[in-house]
């Protein structure tokens, strides 16, 4: 097992170098000078431009800039944002809890609904139930997120008034930032109603963000279950007179789960890297929106640092998925 993990880890180093090189070059290939963008219509004089360039280190050759960047990264310093002048790492850490909170809730929503729906559709194959589950999941999969979010918002927040429109908690609660996770902070604050307000603010964004993963999980579960259900050992189990639910949950599901775990892992990786549209619509202060804005402003350090951290998260999630495989299916860990 350790050897397996070690082998997976050794692949991370070249990936890491690749990512730093790629983000560093790509953001500089896009036309647009951060100083000009900052100045807008007002403009800056040539002398001032040169002065600022020197201050920010843009006047040095690219390979020197890259070298500084990488040595910084190795020491844990991702540089400071050109706009807010705050360390990139600090900005990331203040925003990341919001992204995690939303991603976890969306993942829970997607798994809780997607997995049973997929199983159900597989068991009732060819029936109306199967067809409707698949139609719904195809619709969910192809749903334009922006439109879906606004639609839910108009119906449930504006017309019915069941859920709040956007934000993380009602403005009447003045919650101190302790952990950055609103659910935990609202509980810690001890203010009455704060926790339920935080929960209510999570409902719509989680549903919107969880819709596509839910559809993917449902479809994957269904096809994987169908394959397993037609195996000989299932027939044997049934012939032995084992209760139908036991056959499905204990015998079939465990084997059907392997591809589903891959999908869940990939989806969670995507969710953690920030949901740009959902975060924008629901004014959710996460890292997706942060990265998009910094690309628009040509805020090089934030783009480089942010993407690097996100890439690392995806690497870690994938690694965890691989390890989970090994646990679920011993054949995988032995064969490598």
């Amino acid at each position: 097992m350790f050897q397996f993990i070690f082998r997976r880890l050794s692949l991370v180093i070249p990936t890491f170098i690749g990512i730093t090189l790629l983000t560093f070059t790509l953001i500089r290939l896009i036309p647009g000078d951060p100083i000009e963008v900052m100045a807008g219509e007002r403009g800056v004089s040539a002398e001032r431009h040169a002065e600022l360039s020197a201050q920010l280190g843009f006047d040095q050759p690219l390979y020197v800039q890259y070298f500084h960047y990488v040595t910084g990264v190795l020491q844990g310093d991702l540089g400071n944002s050109l706009i807010t002048r705050e360390p990139v790492m600090k900005e990331f850490l203040t925003l990341f809890p919001a992204t995690i909170e939303l991603a976890v809730c969306a993942a829970i929503f997607a798994i809780l609904i997607g997995l049973p729906a997929g199983i159900f559709a597989a068991v009732k194959r060819g029936t109306v139930i199967d067809h409707s589950v698949m139609t719904f999941s195809l619709t969910g999969y192809s749903m334009p997120i922006f439109w879906w979010a606004l639609l839910l918002m108009l119906v449930f927040s504006v017309n019915l008034g069941w859920t709040p429109v956007s934000g993380r908690i009602d403005v009447v609660y003045w919650i101190d930032d302790v952990t950055g996770f609103m659910l935990i902070d609202s509980l810690l604050s001890g203010e009455e109603g704060a926790f339920s307000s935080a929960v209510s603010h999570l409902i719509l964004p989680s549903i919107v963000l969880g819709t596509i993963p839910m559809a993917v999980i449902a479809r994957m579960t269904r096809s994987s279950m169908l394959e397993v259900l037609s195996e000989d050992y299932i027939r044997t189990a049934r012939a032995k007179g084992i209760a139908p639910w036991r056959v499905i949950v204990i015998h079939a599901l465990r084997n059907a789960l392997i591809p589903v775990i891959t999908v869940i892992g990939l989806q969670v990786g995507i969710l953690l890297s920030g949901a740009i549209l959902t975060e924008t619509v629901f004014a959710w202060p996460g890292i997706g929106k942060w990265l998009i804005e910094s690309i628009g402003r040509r805020d090089y350090p934030v783009v480089q640092g942010g993407i690097l951290i996100v890439a690392c998260i995806i690497i870690v999630v994938n690694l965890l998925v691989d390890i989970t495989y090994g646990i679920v299916n011993p054949r995988i860990r032995h064969s490598r």
Partner: protein, 530 residues
């Protein structure tokens, strides 16, 4: 099935949630369009940052009278100007208190040291604070304050004298701008002593009506009313900026009562807002202008007749309808009508393609010529859709034989290239900083600005002399006369096609009282009650 489950879960969870839109009686929620870049307004140029800082947390020596572009006393009760226009002596207000923060409690009132610190930090490279937090003071240098201020003297604790290098009438209006917000020297000294000077720019104390309590990036900013505010405590107790970047979502929040005031609505939503009994849709002409600048140093635009012909060939009313969807007014002068010295008597070029064609023939282009129109890649208040605008002009010009190609670049590139004059004609605009006509006319059309913000690359001696004359006297009546005359010269020479001044809309909840639109684009909440 799955959807049914989703709905069921939603309904159950929603039923458990309580009181989502109930506000405490005196909390005002402003749904701002973005996060501030930081909390020291001297570093930045964005209105979003100013709303969160200077407009509500700080004061300046002179301030803009709310709802106008005129100045009124702020932290200075009065000022005297020497006869040569080089010395400005300010008499400071007594008994003005600073806010306190978590790690700083002021021990003295506002005085001359704070004024000197605020300006010395920005202008004096030797000041220990000059380079703290990056040390780029874009507006201070942009408005030429670094070369204009020769020295600042403390006469006594409540009197400060500014000595200028040249007479400059717009100086007073400049001091009302956001970069001139007064900081506490005592706080600065305390942080410097503690070895953490950069904290001054993260958690500064001001003298304004609201003090910052908490900022969560991209989420919200909380303020409480400052009870010792020198004008008296604000009518609301708490002010919350709920950061909501999407305009449709801001509107949904306004409808649901989750915010009380929202800026920048979608033009498409205006009709619905007007009809909503819970919403009061306020509007005012913005202090801006959208224009097309001819590159007057490139042929054929060196010829005034060509510029006039294209002005005649452009149908502004079609642009107002299609691009501004009614939320704009045709512009005839380079300054907006809400600004003092606006010349009402200037006659604009009326849409007349026949006359345009004749004029073009006179200039030696009977069959027209080929040129380009640069269209901005971004949406701005003075131009919501430059591409569409360029297309309409392209169509109009083709009727007199002028074939225009539409060109666009990434925004930073666009600004840079047009500054260098690589364009034939370019669409751009301007939003005023300080309500002084000089801030439009000299900045955008003065000879000094050629190769910079003067995109027409236009230097006209007659026009420029009038502006220079107006700069040197502080007599407003005299200045008004000069600017009015300059506008006549401008129209005759036609370096720009003045296109439109946009109308600013601000929907607020009906229960909000006392809110006024600031023509300079800021959002102030001191006078507001609920």
């Amino acid at each position: 099935m799955k959807k049914g489950l989703a709905k069921l879960t939603l309904a159950l969870m929603a039923a458990g949630a309580i009181g989502t839109s109930a506000h405490a009686a005196s909390t005002l929620v402003y749904c701002s369009e973005g996060s501030p870049e930081g909390f020291n307004p001297a570093f930045y140029t964005a209105g979003t940052t100013f709303d969160a800082t200077s407009k509500n947390m700080f004061n300046r020596l002179v301030e803009f009278k709310l709802g106008t572009t005129e100045t009124e006393p702020g932290l200075a009760t009065s000022y005297d100007v020497s006869s040569d226009g080089l010395e400005y002596t300010f008499h400071l207000r007594k008994g003005v208190k600073f806010h306190s923060s978590k790690d700083f409690k002021p021990t003295r009132d506002f005085n001359a040291d704070d004024v000197i610190f605020t300006f010395d930090r920005q202008g004096n490279k030797e000041n220990p604070y000059h380079t703290v937090s990056g040390g780029s003071y874009e507006y201070f240098t942009g408005m030429g304050m670094d070369t204009l201020i020769k020295k600042i003297e403390k006469i006594d604790d409540y009197t400060v004298k500014f000595v200028l290098t040249k007479p400059e009438a717009p100086f007073i209006a400049n001091l009302a701008m956001d970069f001139a917000s007064i900081f506490s020297k005592e706080q600065a000294d305390a942080y410097m002593k503690a070895g953490t000077p950069e904290k001054l720019d993260i958690d500064p104390v001001g003298t304004g009506p609201f003090q910052k309590v908490q900022y969560q990036k991209d989420s919200l900013i909380r303020y409480t009313a400052f009870k010792d505010y020198w004008k008296g405590k604000a009518k609301i107790d708490r002010l919350v900026f709920s950061i909501t970047p999407d305009a449709s979502v801001r509107y949904a929040k306004l409808k649901a009562g989750e915010c009380d005031v929202m800026p920048y609505p979608n033009p498409a939503d205006l009709k619905q807002m007007e009809a909503d009994p819970n919403i009061n849709l306020m509007s005012q002409e913005g202090l801006n202008v959208g224009y097309l600048a001819f590159n007057t140093q490139k042929k054929p635009f060196t010829d005034v007749r060509v510029r006039q012909a294209l002005s005649l060939a452009t149908d502004k009313s079609a642009i107002i309808d299609a691009v501004f969807q009614g939320a704009g007014k045709a512009a005839k002068n380079p300054i907006p009508p809400t600004m003092w010295s606006y010349n009402k008597n200037v006659v604009d070029y009326a849409y007349d393609p026949v006359k345009a064609k004749k004029l073009l023939a006179e200039a030696g282009y009977p069959d027209g010529f080929s040129t380009n129109i640069w269209a901005m890649p971004v949406q701005r208040p003075y131009n919501p859709n430059a591409r569409r605008m360029a297309e309409i002009m392209q169509e109009d010009w083709s009727k007199i034989g002028v074939k225009a190609e539409i060109v666009s670049y990434e925004w930073g590139e666009y600004l840079n290239r047009s500054k260098k004059g690589e364009h034939d004609t370019v669409l751009l605009g301007w939003t005023g900083d300080n309500g002084d006509p000089d801030n439009f006319l000299y900045v955008l059309l003065g000879c000094d600005a050629v190769g910079g913000s003067n995109r027409a690359q236009w230097c006209n001696e007659e026009f420029n002399n009038l502006l220079l004359k107006a700069k040197q006297t502080s007599d407003k009546a005299e200045r008004t006369k000069d600017y009015e005359e300059a506008q006549v010269v401008f129209k005759r020479e036609a370096p720009w096609i003045t296109i439109a001044h946009s109308v600013v809309y601000e929907p607020i909840r009906k229960e909000v009282k006392g809110y006024k639109i600031d023509p300079l684009g800021g959002h102030y909440f001191y006078n507001v009650s609920k």
